[in-house]
Amino acid sequence: MTATPTPAAAPTPTPAPTSAAASAQAAAPARALPANVAALALGDDALVLSHRLGEWAGHAPVLEEEVALANIALDLLGQARVLLSLAGDEDELAYLREERAFRNLQLVEQPNGDFAHTIARQLYFSTYQTLLYGQLASGESELAPLAAKAVKEVTYHQDHAEQWTLRLGDGTAESHERMRRGLDALWRFTGEMFQPVDGIDVDFEALRESWTASVTAVIERATLSVPDGPQSGAWTAGAGRQGLHTEPFGRMLAEMQHLHRSHPGASW
């Protein structure tokens, strides 16, 4: 798939009115430098998914998963902090940008749903991240050092998602059905991962092929089938990367940013 309808251009990242002058400086360079576009895209992916996984704390189906999901969330938050710091001030970028200035994939902002839904989101995203970071790690971009460190973490995330996809797909009739529904529901957000990103020097068509092969193998071993719907909706292809998000994301940000924004200029 090549030509995708371009959603309405998103405004450039603009700090909230409450921010200090410094934050305008922090967010502004993202407009120009491809390296910052890349750091923001990958940093926002990690930040947002970490937040969603953090919502599981105290709600996981088994104590071992409280530990595992928190572990993954912490890895992602660590990556987000490094990446956002490449593009500006981590807290200004996380807490003072408006929804339309976030560059994450729509996939990672999707609400948790049940455990199978979360695992489907993990499978899709961690496979992408493992492949992408593997390539970035061997490249020479500014992102290479971060990618080299993160690739170990995301390989574990991918393994965790794979093991659970197998258990749920090939577990009971109920878990099989829930896993199928999770994979199906999120399938239409997967096409967006393969839209090229400024500053990321990777062959995204080849990435799509590797991703599809990897995900297909896991899904089939889990006695399920790869969803057959489109991988993007009329608005979703590449939309998140351009600041066009889904409704639940605004509420997520409202919760995430409220306290920070209530105390302008305070340090914590």
């Binding site: 912490l74 105390h263 305070a266």
Partner: protein
């Protein structure tokens, strides 16, 4: 296993048939070996003989401790999604994760006494076993996260450091690990409150308000006064407990007063004053009516906490069943 040869030598393998008279003579011998080992500060290990009441006391205490770790995740998890900086968010997530880990070690320690996690969770969910009442108080502002770290983890450390020398080996070893992490939590809580106290006026007020609300419940964490505490004496002889509730409470107050001064925050007790003769701080009377009310289920969050715990468990049934079914099909360990 510690120097346990003496008491295992006298041990009976489970299911070993014995003549009644021989059996009671053997029990007396085993009891004597156990008493001697405890008196000599040796560790009792899972395969050693132990009196039924000792086992039951340990299971009750370890279970209550494990339950407190996992229920205690809730009031703090309440702030993960609203943490005001990414650094604080990472610290808080790691802390809540640690508490889950503490729950895991402790349920494992209880398993060495022949009680499964499933069984203990069932008792928690049905209200037959308790968790620390402190977690029945709400976290109303961000400063509560700092106050919990400083005061609640601080009180937990004061309670738990002596447990590192508990007579039961697996519990003592779990406590060594737990205490190390709790002291991180305590320092991080203190540091977070310090940032608030030295921050804007609104932040300082938020910190003071949190300390006002958490101080007295933290003192109640040490349990009822010594003259009303039911299990203390026997637990002391068994070296499951090494200091009385009141001793530990005093130790905690003495630690907190100078720390509150460094924080620039006031502890909400007008009677708090240094007593030169005693070499301790005197403090005002504790409202034990509140303590008993919360313990009996009438705290601000009792229903909320147990309802969330039950719901997470019930909503997880299909996941645990799937893992078990998959493991049965493929001969692999479950999650």
């Amino acid at each position: 296993m510690a120097t346990a040869a003496a008491h295992t030598a006298a041990g009976t393998e489970p299911g070993e048939a014995a003549h009644p008279a021989a059996s009671s003579a053997r029990t007396a011998e085993q009891q004597a070996a156990f008493d001697e080992a405890v008196a000599a500060d040796e560790r009792i290990e899972p395969r050693d003989w132990m009196p039924d009441a000792y086992r039951a006391t340990l299971v009750r205490q370890i279970a209550q401790h494990a339950h407190s770790e996992i229920i205690g995740m809730q009031p703090e998890a309440n702030w993960i999604t609203r943490a005001p900086s990414l650094r604080r968010k990472a610290i808080l997530m790691a802390k809540v994760q640690d508490e889950a880990g503490h729950g895991l070690y402790l349920y494992s320690a209880a398993e060495t006494l022949g009680t499964s996690r499933e069984e203990l969770l069932d008792k928690l969910h049905s209200g037959r076993q308790k968790y620390s009442s402190i977690f029945n108080y709400p976290t109303l502002t961000w400063a509560d996260v700092g106050a919990i770290g400083w005061l609640v983890d601080g009180a937990a450390i004061t309670n738990q450091v002596p447990l590192c020398r508990c007579s039961y080996g697996p519990y003592a070893r779990a406590m060594v690990r737990v205490c190390k992490e709790e002291s991180f939590h305590q320092r991080q809580g203190y540091e977070s409150l310090l940032a608030l106290s030295r921050g804007t006026k609104a932040q300082h007020e938020m910190a003071q308000d949190a300390v006002n609300r958490w101080w007295w419940p933290s003192l109640m964490m040490f349990g009822p006064p010594d003259d009303e505490s039911s299990h203390s004496e026997q637990s002391m002889t068994w070296k499951i407990k090494r200091h009385s509730n009141d001793e530990l409470r005093q130790r905690f107050v003495d630690i907190c007063v100078p720390q509150a001064e460094s924080l620039g925050l006031t502890l909400p007790d007008p009677d708090l004053v240094w007593n030169e003769a005693r070499g301790h701080y005197d403090f005002g009377p504790i409202d034990w009516t509140e303590f008993w009310a919360v313990l009996k289920g009438n705290g601000p969050c009792n229903d909320q906490r147990i309802t969330q715990r039950r719901r997470a468990h019930e909503e997880g049934v299909w996941v645990r069943e799937a893992a078990a079914a998959y493991a049965a099909k493929h001969g692999k360990a479950t999650a």
